[in-house]
Amino acid sequence: MSDTPIHLGRRLAIPRALRGWVLPIALIVLWWAAVAFGWSQSPLLVAPSKVWDTAVEQIVSGKLFSALAASLWRDLAGFAIGSTVGLVFGTALGLSRLFEKMVGPTFHTVKQISLFAWIPLISVWFGLGDTAKVVFLSLAAFFPVVLNTFEGIRAVPADLLEVSRVLRFTRRQTLWRVVIPAASPSIFAGIHLALIYAWLATLGAEYLLVSGKGIGNTMIDGRENFWMDLVLFGVIVVGTVGFTLNWIAGHIEARLLRWRGRSVAAH
């Protein structure tokens, strides 16, 4: 039993770096075959080559660039605002028992509300434009950062806090030299999550607060006009952006936390 996978691996002999590409390539081949051999007559099935043409057209005409720029700008603005406010709020929540007692219960209740349940309220208050979207994205980024910052600060080892007492650190020194660095793995995890949530919410916002430009709006256009090639192209772009953001965050995280040794691997 145990030697079967090894045997199989040897027979297939796919280089390690390429193994992750097997499934996507197989799907594309299947897709191409489905169109080429006419397995389905549905207008929903478009040829890969048509998606390719659409991609080229979108890129050359600059439509992709302007849609993506609009989406990314909102994404990063919302991410920056939400995670900054979240960092401050989470730190305060972690440091002050009084603050935690006062606002903690409200926060923990509010965080249970599904993110999308905020949409009606946000659209009433801020309309359907960029402001409303950025507010929504900030909210998406806010919660994971607050939670992870709070938990990271609460989990700072008492042992290390004793060392800071022995070395006569002031409160400020203890905060910046001990508490924040000790909590940093958790804080980074929160920021990383916030980056992913914000991007997912960017698409959500463009779907639910329909107005203006954005990669989500491009896809809505495609759907409404039955341009499946455009929809599929949008899916690929959204996936690629998400993957890239995650990759960048993973590398920054691994670099900043390299003092943790092998325990932290790049994503």
């Binding site: 972690g94 440091l95 002050s96 028992r97 009084l98 603050f99 600060i153 609460r154 700072v156 008492a158 042992d159 290390l160 806090l161 004793e162 060392v163 007492r165 022995v166 070395l167 006569r168 650190f169 002031t170 409160r171 020194q173 203890t174 905060l175 030299r177 001990v178 508490v179 660095p181 000790a182 940093s184 390299r258 003092w259 943790r260 040794g261 325990s263």
Partner: protein, 279 residues
């Protein structure tokens, strides 16, 4: 080096409240330690020997009696009193050099002086070449050397050692004991070593304070009049070690009884669970 630092402990008692009941940990400890002396404190777990160190270093307050350093009552921590814990407690995000430097944050030394002091202490503990290593890259023994350097870099009058080699393997432990002795001679400061290893206590101490548990009291103080380097297999050494061991054997019931009051609640009760601002 002319270090001051006579430590005068008189009628020191300490108790904790465990679930509303008073639990005496230390009772009527009286001990005077001369500047530059090396004193070992041995006892079974639960005899309050770690609490004694925590009181001297100033991590615990709320005691009866007196702890005087050069005639002044000990209140809170001070750079005059350094401590090495059983765990190295290095900051994992800082390199060896940065860990040691951080101890000088409030020393008032110029940057140049700080650098030189840190370098000389890296030399002292024999860690040249490891300045830029992170704690995860160090062995247990090396980490403890860094912890010793960090505790010494502020030039304290007293260095307290709370079972510093307890978690190390026998070979590393023997080697570091030798190193600690060398450092003690080089620095000429007072050292108080808490340990449950009788041989270690006799090897390093000029006096061995034997404590008994529940509540923690001094049972006997055994002087060690042996020249250095001490030979663990020498008859004179064995005699003193046996004398100390006999103090434990005298009360077999107490020594064999399971610890009724382990040191655990002591720690959980009094170490703040998280760093807080009183806002």
């Amino acid at each position: 080096m002319a270090h001051t630092g006579t430590l005068d402990i008189s009628h020191l008692s300490k108790q904790y409240d465990v679930k509303g009941a008073a639990l005496p940990v230390l009772e009527d400890i009286t001990l005077t330690i001369q500047p530059g002396e090396f004193v070992s404190v041995v006892g079974t777990s639960g005899c309050g020997k770690s609490t004694l160190l925590r009181l001297i270093v100033g991590l615990e307050d709320d005691y009866r009696g007196e702890i005087l350093l050069d005639g002044k009552r000990v209140v809170g921590t001070s750079l005059q009193r350094g401590i090495v814990f059983q765990e190295h407690r290095l900051f994992p995000w800082l390199t060896v050099e940065q860990n040691i430097s951080l101890a000088l944050l409030n020393s008032g030394l110029s940057e140049g002086d700080q650098f030189r002091t840190v370098q000389s202490h890296i030399d002292l503990v024999g860690l040249n070449g490891f300045e830029h290593a992170y704690p995860y890259q160090l062995s247990g023994g090396m980490s403890q050397r860094v912890a010793i350097a960090r505790a010494l870099v502020t030039r304290p009058d007293i260095l307290l050692l709370d079972e510093p080699f307890g978690a190390l393997d026998a070979l590393t432990r023997a080697y570091l004991q030798q190193e600690l002795h060398r450092i003690w001679e080089a620095e000429g400061i007072t050292m108080i070593l808490v340990t449950h290893d009788v041989e270690e206590a006799v090897y390093l101490g000029e006096r061995v304070v034997v404590m008994e548990p529940r509540p923690g009291r001094i049972r006997r103080i055994v002087p060690v009049d042996l020249a250095h380097p001490r030979e663990r297999s020498a008859p004179a050494f064995s005699r003193i070690r046996d004398t100390v061991l006999r103090e434990f054997g005298d009360k077999p019931a107490a020594a064999a009884a399971p610890p009724l009051a382990p040191e655990v609640p002591v720690v959980t009760d009094h170490v703040p669970l998280a760093f807080q601002f009183a806002i």
